[in-house]
């Protein structure tokens, strides 16, 4: 992938475009058909971007927002792969664009509430406010990384802890989290931002609506050739916005599938007053797709 400007990494379409090989662009563009395709691709990208920028303000909070990127991203990837012909196998470009599209975005609900909480903390506890802004920056940074990269489990855990610390600013004692990482394999890797968005879901659906919520429990453990990730949160029927949640899960499932094929799985189960989620991944040490 070509070197990218930080500012365009937020936009899957622009980023996917920069993924095109640069050599030979000029003579390639001389050919009429190729030019047509390139114009088509560029206009698709522009329309996609505009549509997305407009949509940003109007989407339901949640990963649903991220899914909105899908259509335009895939259209662009298709146009690009057509235009580039044999230079780049279409499946790879598609995979990349799809990963870009599926990468979780900051939920507007979370962002604005967090900023409001930071503003409410600045005068009384400036140091806490500083820490919160640093945590928010880290979350944004993680979301702007190459979606094909894998991170170590400990890296993802560290990000989750920062995220939870930020939520604790707003929710205080209502947010209780139990970590079980005693058997977490230190060398295993996973796609970035799999666990954090799931935690965000757990807070949104399992903590915020309840006056006296129980804890969120997270367990990461080695299980033979696999890695096991379990997450559970309090559940009360009628409090889960089923549709938003289903989309979030479908998104993560698809990302797992793009990385691991059928080797990974994500299952959900409601047991009494707990919502339980279980991910199984192959134990791998690679750091990229």
């Amino acid at each position: 992938m070509a070197e990218e400007d930080e500012s365009i990494r937020q936009f899957p379409d622009a980023a996917a475009m920069s993924a095109a090989p640069c050599g030979g662009w000029r003579e390639w563009l001389e050919r009429p058909l190729a030019r047509g395709l390139a114009v088509f691709a560029a206009s698709e990208a522009l329309v996609g971007l505009l549509a997305l920028m407009l949509r940003w303000g109007g989407l339901e909070p949640g990963l649903a927002a991220a899914l909105g990127w899908g259509g335009a991203g895939a259209a662009l990837a298709l146009a690009l792969s057509l235009a580039l012909g044999a230079r780049r196998p279409p499946s790879e470009a598609l995979t990349e664009a799809r990963l870009m599209a599926l990468t979780a975005r900051i939920r507007p609900h979370f962002l604005f509430n967090s900023l409001n909480a930071v503003l409410g903390t600045i005068r009384g506890d400036p140091r806490r406010a500083e820490a919160a802004l640093e945590e928010l920056a880290e979350l944004f940074r993680a979301q702007m990384q190459d979606p094909r990269e894998l991170v170590s489990l400990s890296e993802e855990i560290a990000l989750c802890r920062q995220y939870l610390d930020l939520e604790r600013l707003r929710l205080g004692e209502r947010l209780q989290v139990q970590w079980d990482v005693a058997n977490c394999p230190p060398d295993a890797t996973m796609p970035r931002l799999i666990l954090q968005p799931l935690l965000e879901n757990a807070v949104y659906h399992g903590i915020e609506p309840l006056p006296a919520p129980g804890p969120i429990a997270i367990r990461l453990a080695s299980a033979g050739p696999m890695v096991l990730i379990e997450l559970s949160n309090p559940f009360r029927p009628g409090h889960v916005h089923a549709q938003g949640n289903r989309m979030a899960l479908a998104n993560i499932r698809e990302r797992l599938q793009l990385f691991y094929g059928q080797a990974a799985s994500l299952n959900v189960e409601v047991k009494g007053d707990r919502y339980q989620l279980r991910i199984v991944l192959p134990h791998r040490r690679e750091t990229a797709l």
Partner: protein, 271 residues
């Protein structure tokens, strides 16, 4: 605008969000003097706190545990005088759209001092009885109406989930709600309740609304209609004919069905 400070209540489940509002209120105090009489972390607490307070305005978050901001608004709107309401929300496109349609005041988080000041000045300008909530606007925001009935006994607010109510009965000047576990004194009239919850309750006789879902069956009986306030008029003329009473789920009470309502009730039971 009067020189008296506006009397406010702040309702938000997040402590830093309430802190932010307090700070901003101080910042705009020169332009709009205010006095925060109470704070609450959810709608239920807000109703308890508001019980003995005279409030000019309530700043209320939408998404809260136990009782959300819109439900709280439905309850506050029934107070006399009703306080002005300013909704405060981070991100809720449905609510924001509805607020605009209904010309209700709202602030977006992070809240800005200028917007807060403008909203408070509007409250001050409306003044006294003229302010308060537009019932039609609230109907648009919360079409299913209240989820709780409010009972106040010896200064304690009690909220009874509407879905738990088996029947509502008017007796002299009082209206009571019967649930499987008890009977609660309400402040609403039976006519108001019928208008608000017509989809859930059906009139059994002049003084009683029964939850449609609670009716288990019917049986002959109820000769002593006088106690139900149903005697007299045209009904008394046909006393020789059999009378019916409704059997309810979960409680031994029977509710008499008036002759006028009987066709409707029977249709419900057969359907």
């Amino acid at each position: 605008m009067s020189a008296l400070p506006l009397r406010l209540m702040l309702v938000d489940d997040e402590a830093p969000a309430r802190a932010r509002l307090r700070q901003l209120l101080e910042d705009v105090a020169d332009a709009v003097p205010t006095q925060v009489l109470a704070e609450a972390a959810d709608g239920v607490e807000a109703l308890e706190r508001a019980e003995h307070l005279l409030l000019d305005a309530v700043l209320v978050d939408i998404r809260m545990p136990r009782m959300d901001g819109l439900q709280l608004a439905l309850h506050l709107a029934r107070r006399a005088p009703a306080p002005a309401l300013i909704f405060v929300t981070a991100y809720d496109r449905y609510a924001v759209k509805a607020f605009e349609l209904c010309a209700l005041d709202y602030l977006l988080k992070p809240v800005r001092a200028q917007r807060l000041q403008e909203a408070l000045i509007r409250v001050g300008r409306q003044g006294g009885a003229a302010r308060g909530l537009d019932a039609a606007a609230l109907q648009t925001l919360a079409p299913e109406g209240r989820r709780h009935l409010r009972s106040s006994e010896r200064g304690r607010v009690r909220l009874i989930p509407v879905e738990d109510v088996l029947y509502l009965k008017a007796d002299q000047r009082y209206v009571t709600a019967r649930t499987a576990s008890g009977e609660y004194l309400l402040e609403d009239s039976l006519a108001q309740l019928e208008a608000e919850f017509g989809a859930r309750f059906i009139r059994a006789h002049r003084n009683c609304l029964v939850a449609r879902a609670a009716i288990a069956g019917y049986e002959r009986g109820g000769e002593g209609e006088g106690s139900e306030g149903e005697a007299g008029g045209a009904e008394a003329a046909n006393e020789a004919e059999p009378r019916w009473q409704l059997i309810l789920r979960g409680i031994p009470d029977r509710v008499a069905a008036s002759r006028r309502q009987w066709p409707q009730l029977r249709a419900l039971l057969k359907g």
